[in-house]
């Protein structure tokens, strides 16, 4: 079992997982069932937690285990559970037609991945040929792509709830970028971010509820009426 001590093996695993996260993200773009979207998010968060765990293991950084654990509990467990409960309560299971249809959305997501790689390229310095730089290079591209696709999801969806999902995956992108570049930010920063996300979801959940009450719909396009 010597490969378990080999950092290069760990980096490959991380790259693989990051690729999976990206695939899931692109899958979420084409997804129309709310519950499926939430579950995709849950799996994505689980993979992120695993990445964090692997980084912690190979770098012998104790506090990242806590981060990984928190990710697992909050993002892979609590938040999906909260959101699913919300879906059940407001009894809306399907996203109505997004602004841009599914095939085109996936195409755009692909382009955004490309943008992520182009941007990450500029941070990549070939003279530093160490493995860690290569790892940063790949995961940073994935992280930027995650971020952009998450943003794109937010503006592509009509339902406030699926926008929340987009926002959460955007945040996942940030998390990935942070953890893969720095090998763990100080714990207090991580805790702050988790707390932020939790509060954001709660506030947004209430907001979704209110929007639904006021407009009889979760469609944020109706907020346009506020202008008059």
């Amino acid at each position: 079992m010597t490969f378990l001590q080999d950092p290069e093996f760990g980096d490959r695993i991380i790259t693989l997982m990051a690729a999976l996260v990206l695939v899931l993200q692109i899958a979420a773009v084409g997804q129309r069932w709310l519950v499926s979207s939430i579950r995709i998010f849950a799996v994505q968060s689980f993979l992120l937690a695993t990445i964090a765990g692997i980084i912690a293991y190979f770098n012998h950084a104790g506090h990242i285990y806590i981060v990984a654990l928190l990710t697992l509990i909050l993002k892979a467990g609590l938040l999906p559970w909260l959101l699913e409960r919300l879906v059940n309560r407001i009894e809306i299971r399907r996203e109505i037609e997004p602004l841009i249809n599914a095939p085109l959305s996936i195409l755009i997501a692909g382009c955004l991945t490309l943008v992520g790689y182009v941007v990450a390229e500029s941070f990549y310095h070939p003279e530093e040929t160490s493995v860690r730089a290569a790892l940063g290079h790949n995961t940073l591209a994935v992280a930027i792509a995650l971020f952009l696709i998450g943003f794109f999801t937010v503006l592509n969806r009509r339902k406030a709830l699926s926008q929340v999902l987009g926002l959460l995956s955007l945040e996942n992108g940030l998390f990935l970028a942070a953890i893969s570049l720095t090998y763990g930010m100080p714990l207090i920063v991580e805790l702050g971010i988790f707390f932020d996300v939790l509060v954001a979801v709660m506030v947004l959940g209430i907001l979704v509820f209110r929007i639904r009450e006021a407009f009889d719909s979760m469609d944020v396009s109706k907020l346009r009426k506020l202008r008059e």
Binding site: V119, S122, L148, F151, S221, R224, L226, R227
Partner: protein, 681 residues
């Protein structure tokens, strides 16, 4: 003489104004007490401010003091030099008169309006003006400038129930902010070059300005200060805002707030921008001529007493700019002595206009206070119930018309003299421009006289035309005292001009390095001369004495005649048509008709007559008459500008779709573009 406590007294005056502002607010629930506090502290501030200014002028050397604020570039620095002293003195004279006047004037607000709030704004206006005239720091200047604009807005819209008032206030605040924007840009440019926010640094940095920068700065400042001063074509806010404000405020607005624009021009054009090229001076001169002539022409067509006065402010600002423009041209042409004379003319006219315009507005305020109308066509015969007001108004009218021996005459005469000298002192096209400007100034003077014959005669002479003017009484005593003080100042500055003129030496020495005061005075201190070869001479004192001497036989003749012949009263000859009433009197519209016809190209008058008759058109039952002149600047300049702005705004509104998705898309696209942009090495 350098131990006079200028700074201390000045600081006390600022304290009086600021405590007055707070005390007025604090006592607003007790209107009578509040009125005492409001007028008392303003008067105290004015007296202290005036004292500081007189000391400052006597002392002759600038007093500077500066308190650091801890914020970079911003300091509470003051520079009490000759220019500051001059404007502070002008302010103090007016503030004193208006405070006394307001004591009775505000009485009618008791129980109806919030005197505390009025007093608060009033004190802030005086405070901000004092700061603007004295500060040496750009930021403090701009803060004072902006406070002045906002407070003036509050005062203009004091009768805010009126739709007209609100519209005027809006127009004013929009123009005020355009001007503040121009100033901000101009100062930013200067500060970039000098690296400091002190006015003194601009003086030394002026040499580093390229001619392009200098031109841009000049245009920005001319726009900014020109809007505040109300020069044509930026004058439109002035005839709208001045009539609707309470009359004591109109007097301050017209008397001193406009002068803040003049102050800024003198401070920056003569001191901060280096030697301006001659086109700049000529531009100021030409704009001045246009403002003078057009201002008085529009004034002639007004029947609203306060609007008429507001248009006259435009005219007089024009006259001041003529002097200032001439000074700028002479300076660059290498005639500093002439420049000093022209500058004295401009500054003296600034002081004079402030005093007599304030007097006239206060007089109009008394009329409005007693009759409740500003429409001259409904007034008439007020000289009998209101003799003191009528006398004060008459003195103001004589002064503003530029008739000897009053102060308006002296400053206009000096302006003429410098314009005539300009013909010999310059070459090329400029040479022709000076006599042309002089002739336009002559036209302005004549038209102004015609206009005030109209204003005085229609308002105070003949019989009352409307019901409002029937049962009126003289204004309360404090209002008369306020006006009387200004009347006395008018007479003193006119008859005793030779005593006051040397006081301008410090001013011209500071700005132009010349002392010409003594050159201007000859004949044992009684005769005023233009201070140049082939220049004219005049003596207001002699004219005044001559008038009194002429008056004695007239008075004697009248008193002898009254004893010898009994006074007979008889009806006016009515051409055989009985039923002649006051309504058949000569009206203001009729009086200005010849001029309306002569200048019809400008006015584009429109009139409409409708007769209602039963049997034959020769026996009309009623006739409806309507006449108006085209508001050229509003129609030709501002309406297209406004339309363009609205069109642009409507286009811009499409971006503000109100859709969350659209907003998100803006952010997203910007983000992606920035990311890609950042990738480029």
């Amino acid at each position: 003489m350098n131990t006079l406590p200028v700074g201390t007294i000045f600081a006390l005056s600022l304290t009086a104004y600021s405590t007055g502002a707070l005390a007025s607010l604090a006592t607003w629930r007790k209107p009578a007490l509040c009125r005492y506090i409001c007028c008392g502290s303003a008067l105290a501030g004015a007296v202290l401010g005036g004292l500081a200014a007189v000391f400052g002028i006597l002392q002759g050397t600038p007093v500077r003091w500066s308190v650091s604020s801890g914020i970079p570039l911003f300091a509470y620095s003051f520079d009490y030099d000759a220019l500051a002293g001059f404007f502070n003195l002008t302010l103090a004279i007016l503030a004193g008169a208006v405070s006394i006047y307001s004591f009775s004037y505000l009485k009618e607000f008791e129980g109806k309006r919030n005197i505390g709030f009025f007093g608060f704004l009033f004190h802030l206006l005086l405070l901000s003006l004092t700061i603007v005239f004295t500060t040496a720091n750009v930021f403090l200047f701009l803060i004072g400038w902006e406070v002045m604009a906002l407070v003036a807005y509050g005062l203009v819209t004091f009768y805010h129930e009126d739709r007209e008032t609100r519209r005027a206030g809006l127009l004013y605040i929009v123009m005020a902010h355009i001007d503040a924007g121009c100033l901000l840009l101009g100062f930013a440019l200067l500060m970039q070059v000098s690296g400091s926010a002190e006015f003194a640094s601009f003086r030394t940095a002026a040499a580093q300005l390229s001619s392009g920068q200098q031109a841009v700065a000049f245009v920005l400042f001319f726009l900014g200060f020109g809007i505040k001063a109300g020069v044509i074509p930026f004058h439109i806010w002035l005839p709208a805002a001045h009539p609707v404000a309470p009359s004591n405020i109109s007097a301050l607005l017209s008397g001193i707030v406009l002068k803040a624009g003049i102050y800024g021009m003198v401070r920056i054009f003569l001191d901060g921008l280096g030697i301006l090229p001659s086109w700049a001076g000529l531009l100021v001169l030409i704009v001045g001529v246009a403002s003078a002539v057009l201002g008085v022409l529009y004034a002639l067509m007004e029947h609203d007493l306060k609007r008429l006065l507001a248009y006259h402010s435009i005219e007089n600002i024009g006259i001041i700019l003529i002097g200032l423009g001439a000074a700028l041209v002479f300076r660059v042409a290498g005639h500093p002595q002439l420049a000093a004379v022209a500058l004295i003319a401009a500054m003296f006219h600034t002081l004079n206009h402030a005093i007599f315009k304030c007097l006239l507005f206060l007089g109009a305020g008394s009329v409005l206070h007693s009759t409740g109308t500003r429409n001259m066509e409904e007034l008439g015969g007020l000289i009998r119930p209101m003799p003191v007001t009528a006398f004060c108004f008459l003195i103001g009218a004589v002064a503003i018309s530029g008739l000897p021996p009053l102060n308006g005459f002296v400053s206009e005469w000096l302006t003429y003299q410098s314009l005539l000298a300009g013909f010999g002192a310059t070459g090329g096209l400029t040479r022709i421009l000076f006599p042309l400007a002089g002739s336009m100034l002559a036209l302005t003077g004549a038209l102004a006289a015609a206009c005030f014959v109209k204003a005085f005669a229609i308002t105070f002479l003949a019989l009352p035309r409307g019901t409002e003017a029937r049962h009126v009484h003289e204004a309360p005593r404090s209002m008369l005292v306020g006006m009387g003080w200004l009347t006395v100042t008018c007479l003193a500055l006119g008859l005793g001009v030779t005593w006051f003129l040397p006081a301008f030496d410090a001013l011209t020495e500071q700005l132009l390095g010349q002392r010409v005061g003594t050159n201007l005075i000859s004949g044992h201190g009684l005769v005023l001369s233009a201070g140049m070869r082939h220049g004219g001479t005049v003596s207001t004192a002699v004219i005044g004495i001559g008038l009194v001497i002429l008056l004695i036989p007239a008075v004697l003749l009248v008193s002898i005649g009254a004893r010898r012949f009994a006074r007979r009263r008889g009806p006016t000859w009515d051409c055989g048509l009985p039923g002649l009433s006051e309504e058949n009197e000569y009206t203001a519209t009729a009086f200005s008709k010849p001029l309306r016809m002569i200048f019809s190209v400008l006015y584009q008058p429109r009139r409409e007559i409708q007769a209602v008759f039963d049997v034959s058109p020769y026996f009309p039952k009623a006739i409806r008459f309507e006449s108006e002149i085209e508001p050229t600047f509003e129609k030709r300049l501002y309406v297209p500008l406004k339309d363009l702005l609205l069109w642009f705004s409507t286009r811009m509104r499409a971006i503000q779709a109100g859709s969350i998705h659209a907003y998100l898309a803006y952010i997203f696209v910007t983000l992606v573009l920035l990311l890609l942009f950042g990738v480029r090495p």
